[in-house]
Symmetry: C2
Subunit: 209 residues, 2 copies
């Protein structure tokens, strides 16, 4: 009898243990944080022996890569939704920034894994920098649509990088309680994000609030 699993690419005994392990990792990550994300804990959560994951991932790092990969996909989707919802090309940059930081705040552990794995290989994953899709290109294209000179490629790349760095920096700092009083003064966390982005030169100062 066939296993009654997801139909496609079903392995032998478990029925796509690879998929189950990634899901288990996400569960552990959300429940216990990045420091508790051990290979053994993931195996435990998935209900298999500690050595079982090695038949689907070369080592712990490769499992993390897989988790991070899904994280980048989710971030990309969040940015796409934000861009689609923006009322104008000018507002789109601002919305992208807010969506980016909100994603990081709502998935802090996942966001951490994403950048930890990126740092280990000293680069953002290919999925981010592809010449066609990917979040990096989304930001770049949005900048052009907002009025950047498409002839000056260097300038556009620098502006895109500057925007990404700014958003990442804010995302990492946003959790620090030191800035709580600023969030209150701005009238909420998202308003705080907008205020910070307006102080960064990336946004053409569109809507107040």
């Amino acid at each position: 009898m066939r296993h009654s699993q997801t139909a496609e690419a079903r392995p032998y005994h478990h029925g796509d243990l690879r998929r189950a392990l990634i899901d288990a990792a996400r569960r552990v990550l959300e429940a216990e944080g990045p420091s508790a994300l051990s290979l053994r804990a993931v195996a435990r959560e998935a209900g298999v022996s500690p050595a079982a994951p090695y038949h689907h991932f070369k080592d712990k790092g490769e499992l993390m890569d897989a988790v991070a990969h899904e994280g980048w996909d989710l971030l990309d989707a969040a940015l796409a939704a934000a861009k689609a919802a923006a009322s104008s090309s000018q507002a789109a940059m601002s919305e992208l920034g807010v969506a980016y930081v909100c994603f990081a705040r709502q998935n802090p552990a996942l966001y951490r894994v994403m950048y930890d794995t990126a740092r280990e290989r000293e680069d953002l994953p290919d999925q981010m920098r592809g010449d066609e899709a990917g979040a990096y290109c989304k930001v770049r294209d949005t900048l052009v649509e907002a009025g950047a000179d498409p002839a000056n490629m260097l300038d556009i790349e620098l502006a895109t990088t500057a925007a990404w760095c700014s958003a990442h920096g804010l995302a990492e700092m946003a959790g620090f309680t030191q800035f709580d009083h600023l969030k209150v003064a701005c009238g909420g966390e998202v308003a705080f994000f907008r205020a910070i982005f307006q102080h960064m030169g990336l946004v053409p100062k569109p809507c107040a609030n």
Copy 2:
């Protein structure tokens, strides 16, 4: 016979093992990177048993705190030097940013430990946010000297936070090989940093280059 050590606050057997452990940790950190920075490795490097550190630090985290504390001191000194060397108040902001990112690039493992411990306690250390000294206040004061309205405290704090986030974001991204071609196009890494900072709205666009 007294031990022939640093004279002040000399403990019993080793002669300031606490100090020796912090130094050993910095050595391990530089030689092997953050992932190799185990308490046992530090004890080994210092030439003591694995349990010896527990008489000077509550746990591994407290050792890391001490290492990070020294890191923040070093960063503060680097920023102070950059500010002192700046030719004008306007240029000072730019120089602070460059000095910040250069520090992170030259001490990547230490910089990592600094923010890892900060994230664990969900705040930057007190030494950064003191109302008198500390790097945060240095940036804030430099902003005022560069022309920010000292009456609008909220705005100044937001601008300071924005500047800090931008610099931190760039510091974390600067190591990614994805941006190598931009460094080349800008004529060097520091020039790349300056170009990015000019795209961030923090610098009053003073000197080109």
